[in-house]
Symmetry: C2
Subunit: 227 residues, 2 copies
DNA sequence: ATCCATAATTATGAATACAGTATTATAGGG
DNA sequence: CCCTATAATACTGTATTCATAATTATGGAT
């Protein structure tokens, strides 16, 4: 493998995303929306036709999704949407709690006054949406809160592992925030986390975040048993 | 997306791996061996010709490697082997320490007497190879030890995150075990871990494993500065 | 001689075509 | 009537072909 090309300076590419990437993104969303249901077969020809593309970029997109774990490729059998078992969830959430807990710990350690202000603002939005009983916006603000923490933690790899793990959680049913009491409980947990961060108590921030995630697992479990 | 196919019972596939998978595996090994050097351009045509295949499965393999992070695909520019900076390593190792630490913790909690025996056996091999000053076999046994811990921890997702993170570490230079004293130090750390597991002290096992990984980072850093 | 504009080349991205295998349908026998 | 064996079909996996963008080479101007 000789360098027949120049070093090709590593300037960041801001080129238009490749077709396979766009397709992968669209498929991700359809999977998250359960429009492509867990366990179901993915019909290459049908989707290619629907998107007005050939199977080539579609298949490349499926390879990406397979590497992410959202679909499973069975040789000569085709592509199937990944299905998570209850046991999977019981295993994923603790890992998520570990990662997000560390994230909160690091964020609490490293946050500047300005950072804390930013977090407090988002937390304020969280409180408003909880008061208004608006699960969708609460969800939005919640996600924002977690993303800011990931930024503040300042570890690109930690962040990526979290986001990758989150992809799996997106495979599950949504709506646990709509359970009676869950919104309020989630808010209370966030208040504890926020308080720990403002007091610059990293250990406490980490621990409460850890428990917050596990609490999310419990809520999801209820969602499955209740209805 | 109607089910034009039957449920297709989810029997595990033991079919021959697809060509793109084999190619991905070969490329991974070449990347790990630095035969494809970090930062270098990957010549699709040359490799396709070398392997006697068309570009199609090769490109699919590259998509997989890109999703794993081993290569970077720049639209219309081609494929480049990922290059890790010192800062990347400073960020990856703590995450690895977190994951492996938890792994050791869980393994120590859950291990049966038979499991501890198995670990002790591998640890024994570790001691022999250290005494014989055989870094390569020490490396092998070391990897085995960690893999067994991952099994014992009993969390598929934790294991997968670790292995995925390990892929990145494989991008770095090997041979830190050949540094004078490192083999002995690594063994000493393993002895502490093993002792904690035998005493069923999960907290200690987790903490010592955590520090063991960070110690690996320090050794790697030396490798870069010394020579 | 250096720099810029333009032409030629080369590589990537995507579509189409083909081969081989798994699945489904059909026919025959128990 | 059901089960088995065989043929037909459909889909996946791979190769080939084509279009387009990026890179390199060439030639001319300053």
């Amino acid at each position: 493998m000789d360098a027949r090309r120049p070093p090709a300076n590593p300037a960041l590419s801001l080129a238009a995303p490749a077709l396979y990437e766009q397709v992968a993104e669209r498929l991700r969303n359809r999977i998250y929306a359960h429009e492509l249901a867990p366990g179901s077969w993915v019909d290459e020809q049908a989707i290619a036709a629907e998107y007005g593309i050939s199977r080539t970029p579609l298949r490349e997109a499926l390879k990406v999704l397979a590497a992410e774990g959202l679909v499973t490729l069975r040789p000569r059998r085709g592509c199937y949407v990944t299905e998570l078992s209850e046991q999977d969830l019981d295993e994923i959430f603790p890992v998520m709690a570990l990662l997000e807990g560390r994230c909160a710990y690091e964020a609490a350690r490293k946050a500047s006054d300005a950072d804390r202000k930013r977090l407090a603002d988002i937390h304020g939005a969280l409180e408003r949406h909880a008061a208004a009983n608006d699960p969708d916006r609460f969800f939005e603000a919640n996600q924002q809160f977690h993303e800011v923490l990931q930024e503040l933690a300042g570890n690109r790899w930690l962040k990526e592992l979290i986001q990758e793990t989150r992809k799996f959680l997106k495979l599950t049913r949504r709506g646990s925030l709509k359970l009676t009491g869950r919104l309020r409980q989630s808010l209370a947990e966030h208040q504890t986390i926020m308080a720990a961060i403002e007091r610059k108590n990293a250990d406490l921030a980490g621990r409460t975040m850890h428990d917050h995630i596990l609490s999310g697992r419990a809520a999801l479990a209820k969602l499955y048993t209740v209805r």
